[in-house]
Structure formats: C-alpha cells, structure tokens
C-alpha cells in the first residue's frame, strides 16, 4: 500500500507500470486518474489546498479500508496539492486484485471517499478571478452505496 501527497507532477503511466510490476498474483489492475479540466475554456490554473497531517492520515485510513474490504493485493493513491496546470494529473488511484469486480469496486470506493472525506479544496483561477470549487451533492450521495 502506497500513499503519496505531493506538489510535484507525476507520470500516471509510469506509476501504473511500477504498481502492476510489484503486484504479482493480481490478474486485475484498475487505475483512475483525475486531470485538471478546462470546462468552460477559461481556466488558467488550479490551486489545491490541503490539511497537512490530516490528509495523509485520512487517505491511509480510506486505503486500508479498501484493501481489507476487497482483499486487494495492493493499492496506490497519489494526490497533488499546490498549483496545477490545465491538462496535468491531479491525482490517481490504482487497485490490484485477483478478480476485476474487486479491483473496480475498490477503486470507485477510494475515489468516492477521497472526493468527500480527504481534506483537499480546489480553487479555479480564471481571467475573471478565483473561485473555490463547490462540493457536489452527487459526490456526498455516492458515499451511501458503500
């Protein structure tokens, strides 16, 4: 199990390969990457604030729960903070399991919990100013299925 909270960009493909190589016995590997997306064509950059200390603890706890619940061979979470440019990765999760159903469920669980329970806050900088991204009700609702 690996959890990394960092300002540096990362190479999702290289991380996926390293993760897969280290998980012998896993027939199924699922990855999710979140990319800074310019929805309305005006995004200049994204700022992510976090709560040092709590962030790592919260992610580790969520990841341990996923590993136990779906008998994962391994799990990886990388989440950036600081200033992020359009088109670059914000974060990724990867899960490895004997069967695909478990790898998928665990990755979705991790994403749902990271979205709403890990202390990160996104701010979008556009030509017209800076705005904190509002939490979406769907994200809070998504937790109920687990």
């Amino acid at each position: 199990m690996q959890v990394r909270v960092q300002t540096e960009p990362f190479d999702a493909g290289a991380e996926l390969n390293a993760f897969t190589a280290a998980t012998s016995g896993a027939g199924a590997v699922v990855s999710f990457s979140g990319i800074v997306r310019d929805v309305d064509g005006g995004l200049q950059e994204m700022e992510i604030e976090h709560y040092p200390g709590m962030t790592e603890k919260a992610i580790a706890k969520i990841t341990e729960e996923a590993v136990t619940r779906w008998s994962l061979v391994d799990a990886l979470v990388i989440h950036r903070h600081g200033t992020l440019h359009v088109g670059t990765p914000i974060m990724m999760v990867a899960t490895a399991a004997p069967h695909r159903v478990d790898a998928f469920a665990a990755a979705e669980f991790l994403m749902d919990y990271l979205k709403s329970r890990a202390p990160f806050w996104k701010k979008e900088l556009t030509a017209s100013g800076a705005d904190w991204v509002a939490a979406r009700d769907e994200d809070e609702d998504a937790l109920r299925r687990w």
């Binding site: 979140g34 992510i48 604030e49 976090h50 709560y51 200390g53 709590m54 603890k57 919260a58 989440h79 914000i90 974060m91 994403m111 990271l114 979205k115 709403s116 329970r117 890990a118 202390p119 990160f120 806050w121 996104k122 701010k123 904190w132 991204v133 509002a134 939490a135 809070e140």
Partner: protein, 82 residues
C-alpha cells in the same frame, strides 16, 4: 489553549490560517458561538455552519462534539479533492 485552523474560504474570511485560542468552550458549537461573538469576520465565516465541516485532532466529527482533551480544531468547507 487550543490550536484552531481554517482552510479554503473559511481561512480567507477569517484572514489567518491558524491561531491559538484561550477557551473553555465545552463543545465545537460553543467555540463557534464564542468566535462569532468576537468579531465580524468570524461571524461571516461561521454564518452557516451547515456549510462547514469540523475536524478534532485531524478526525472529522460533528459540531456537537466535546472539546475535552482536544489540541487541534479545524474548520473548513466540504472537501473537493479527487
């Protein structure tokens, strides 16, 4: 004495990322009331606590939680990571 931290727009409204506060408030809600009574910027930040989250010693909790033995309180809007 308790360390109080603020994040995202709560931090921006209050104007500092953290401060050390002398309080005997028994619960989070009581602490919020104390702060709101202090200055307008706290009143603005805590206007609608249903839009806020609180963590005690880095664990998410509720506004009616006890502050007994707590060293660090953090207030912030709902998280938007991932």
């Amino acid at each position: 004495m308790i360390d109080v931290m603020y994040f995202a727009w709560v931090r921006e409204r209050i104007g500092v990322p953290s401060e050390r506060i002398e309080t005997s408030a028994p619960t989070v809600a009581a602490l919020v009331d104390e702060l709101k009574a202090r200055e307008e910027r706290y009143a603005a930040a805590f206007e609608d606590v249903s839009a806020l989250r609180v963590a005690l010693d880095q664990e998410l909790t509720d506004f009616d939680a006890s502050l007994e033995g707590v060293r660090e309180v953090a207030f912030f809007p709902p998280m938007t990571g991932g």
